[in-house]
């Protein structure tokens, strides 16, 4: 397989169009299974009561918020090193979905925190660094669109995204480095403190969020390609046909 075949926007446009629908279908199927497990089958937590069920969307969205930033930063590194156009378009396409997941992670955390900690918001390390992540996404998007020349926006925002990567380990390790209100991870490689259906529900929901993120990114990158390549001949032929 020629790896560079799909790195041209015109060929990737078609590929993205073929891959997006199956991603959304997979996301929907996984979400249905995950919600059935999480909201239906999993037992209610003895200490927290039913409110712990927020975990089935809180943890997947929080994971995705960090993972998407990492993937975005990787595309940004490709942009700076190889000056490829498609990688910059992919990074631009990921950012809004990443910001969406970050927002939902903060929001669901607040509504989980209110009954369990007695407050919607605390300025602890985990919450603050996740809020910083949201602003990094906003800053990235603002800088990417702040220039007349989109190529310059690509490169400037790519560098910003790479500087912002330092925030990821801060978020991830914040619950270990500081004594915070936010609980530590319930899942680890040594084993887990959770009921097996809870764990299954959370993992299935995470895969669903992942598939949704892929689908949304692919749809958005198609729009970005059309915006950027609108003067190219292949785009004109596209509409005329």
């Amino acid at each position: 397989m020629n790896w560079f075949y799909f790195s041209s926007p015109s060929t990737f446009y078609g590929l993205a169009g073929r891959l997006a629908p199956p991603s959304f279908i997979l996301a929907a199927v996984l979400a249905a299974a995950g919600l059935y497990l999480g909201l239906g089958v999993a037992p209610t937590d003895a200490q927290q009561g039913a409110v712990y069920r927020v975990i089935f969307i809180h943890v997947p969205t929080a994971w995705m918020s960090m993972f998407l930033y990492f993937v975005m930063a990787c595309y940004c590194a490709l942009t700076l090193v190889f000056n490829t156009r498609l990688s910059a378009m992919m990074a631009r396409a990921i950012a809004p979905t990443g910001a969406m997941f970050t927002f939902v992670a903060l929001w669901t955390g607040a509504f989980w925190g209110r009954p369990t900690w007695g407050t919607y918001w605390v300025w602890d390390a985990r919450l603050t660094s996740e809020l910083v992540l949201l602003f990094l996404y906003f800053g990235y998007m603002a800088l990417a669109n702040a220039f007349e020349d989109p190529r310059r926006g690509d490169r400037a925002s790519a560098l910003l995204a790479i500087i912002g990567v330092v925030n990821l380990p801060i978020i991830y390790f914040s619950v270990q480095w500081w004594n915070t209100l936010h609980q530590g991870s319930s899942v680890s490689f040594k084993g887990t403190s959770m009921h097996v259906t809870m764990l299954a529900g959370m993992l299935v929901m995470s895969f669903s969020a992942w598939m949704y993120a892929i689908g949304a990114t692919l749809v958005r990158v198609r729009a970005v390609i059309l915006e950027r390549e609108r003067r190219a001949q292949w785009v004109r032929d596209l509409g005329a046909a």
């Binding site: 009561g49 409110v51 969307i57 009954p115 958005r220 059309l226």
Partner: protein, 60 residues
């Protein structure tokens, strides 16, 4: 794999935490709906811009 809840009413009540649970799930649903609308609008705008470009070309 039995359902934990005794009835639908029991399920919607979420053991008294209905407000917090459904505000969370509702926010995710709202976020996905908003993103879908924005994605469609963006694609529409891009296609319109191409159409405009082509019309300009045809005039010249």
């Amino acid at each position: 794999m039995t359902i934990w809840w005794k009835s639908w009413a029991d399920f919607w009540a979420m053991g008294g935490h209905a407000y917090f649970v459904w505000m969370s799930y509702g926010a995710l649903l709202a976020a996905i709906v908003v993103e879908t609308i924005l994605l469609r609008a963006r694609r529409r705008r891009a296609l319109d811009a191409i159409e405009e470009e082509r019309d300009l070309e045809a005039e010249n």
